[in-house]
């Protein structure tokens, strides 16, 4: 249903993005979908969504490119133009509700790339160990919340691991993790972008203690990864859509910095809840130098 223009602000990773539309049904769906991430902060980007039947349905690959300072995102079901100088974007979309989700991911990936962060194909969670019971090891009894990232190819165990998480673990995402540089390293933020769990993450953040690349096995084990291999795997899992040399180089520099500042390990795990004891006992340890 169409009506007077209205808007809402969705804030992920501390970056508020406003959605303006005169499609009240679409806006209601967005408000429901992003309920935990609605914000009253002044928006950094203003998105004008225009429903257009001219944009066909389809699941084509997305194309993201820049001409001078104007970014264009195109996929079968939407076309968007974003001018970072004015902070405004116009999105023409067909009625497919997933278009907003895709536009948000692309926008955040571009904004983060310029700010030394990234979206990672990874689950993430916060271990706030103050609530653990039954005589946990001393290292587990820290008041500081610690975020862990769990990445890997499809089937490596991201969803399995998040399903096994104990109640004191706060899920940030089971599919796409949000990482930004912080004063002492990097922080992970919750996202509404969900995978198989179909459950949005919590809207909170914590410093990243480690990134684990997952493999299923017969035992729980944490192994070192050589720095070059860590960078290679990290680059493979960073969500980045743009055909833009300058930003690709920036993302590569960020990946190298991340590997130098955050421990990156291979986590082989047997799929039962004991793996979370192994995770909770991890760190602090030096990253690659």
């Amino acid at each position: 249903m169409t009506g007077t223009p209205s808007h809402c602000v969705v804030e992920i990773g501390g970056i508020p993005i406003a959605l303006h539309t005169n499609d009240s049904d679409f806006l209601d769906r967005v408000r429901q979908r992003y309920a935990g991430f609605l914000s009253t902060s002044p928006a950094e980007v203003e998105l004008d969504f225009v429903l257009s039947e001219r944009v066909r349905r389809g699941e084509d690959d997305v194309r993201v490119h820049r001409a001078d300072s104007l970014w264009t995102f195109e996929r079968g079901d939407f076309e968007a133009r974003w001018d970072p100088r004015s902070g405004r974007a116009e999105v023409r979309k067909n009625p497919n509700p997933y278009a907003f989700d895709s536009v948000l991911r692309i926008l955040h990936s571009l904004i983060l790339a310029g700010r030394g962060g990234f979206l990672l194909h990874a689950a993430s969670a916060i271990c706030d160990s103050t609530s653990t019971t039954e005589g946990p090891p001393a290292r587990y009894q820290t008041a500081e919340p610690r975020a862990f990232l769990f990445s890997g190819v499809s089937g490596a165990g991201k969803t399995t691991l998040t399903r096994l998480a104990p109640p004191d673990v706060t899920l940030l995402s089971d599919e796409i993790s949000y990482v930004r540089p912080s004063r002492d390293g990097y922080s992970a933020f919750g996202t509404p972008f969900s995978g198989e769990l179909a459950k949005p993450g919590e809207n909170c953040s914590a410093p990243v203690t480690a990134l684990f690349f997952l493999e299923k096995g017969l035992e729980n084990r944490i192994d070192d990864l050589p720095p070059a291999e860590a960078v290679r795997r990290l680059m493979r899992n960073i969500l980045f859509f743009a055909e833009d040399r300058e930003l690709v180089e920036r993302v590569f520099a960020t990946a190298c910095d991340f590997v130098q500042r955050v421990p990156i390990r291979r986590l082989t795990f047997y799929p039962d809840s004991r793996v979370w004891e192994e995770i909770g006992n991890f760190g602090p340890v030096p990253a690659h130098v």
């Binding site: 720095p227 070059a228 290679r232 680059m235 040399r245 690709v248 180089e249 590569f252 520099a253 690659h288």
Partner: protein
């Protein structure tokens, strides 16, 4: 026999991490890790110095490698990286952003 000149492509990003040189083609995100010998050649790829001299001065002088074998290996390495758009190769001195520059 004509000389070979090599220069680093402008489409690459490179970082030294924990003693290893990592090179990425920013056009297609292909990624390479160079060993010590390859790194020495890479760093000397100024577009002006013939590959033969680079191998003699930067490889044979620093590593215990047979000269003939080193020249053959270097040509193979250079051709491989050129195919991936990481190095530019010419039978004449090259000019460009990285020509003459030693990282």
């Amino acid at each position: 026999m004509s000389e070979i000149y090599i220069s680093r492509s402008t489409n690459i990003a490179a970082r030294m991490l924990a003693g290893e040189m990592m090179v990425m083609n920013s056009k297609d995100s292909t990624f390479f890790t160079l060993n010590e010998v390859a790194t020495a050649i890479w760093q000397a790829a100024d577009g002006r110095t013939p590959l033969r001299d680079i191998v003699n001065d930067q490889v044979c002088a620093q590593f215990e490698i047979d000269s003939e074998q080193a020249q053959a290996d270097a040509k193979e390495f250079v051709n491989d990286l050129a195919q991936h758009g990481i190095l530019l190769v010419s039978d004449r001195p090259l000019s460009g952003p990285h020509a003459g520059e030693v990282p």
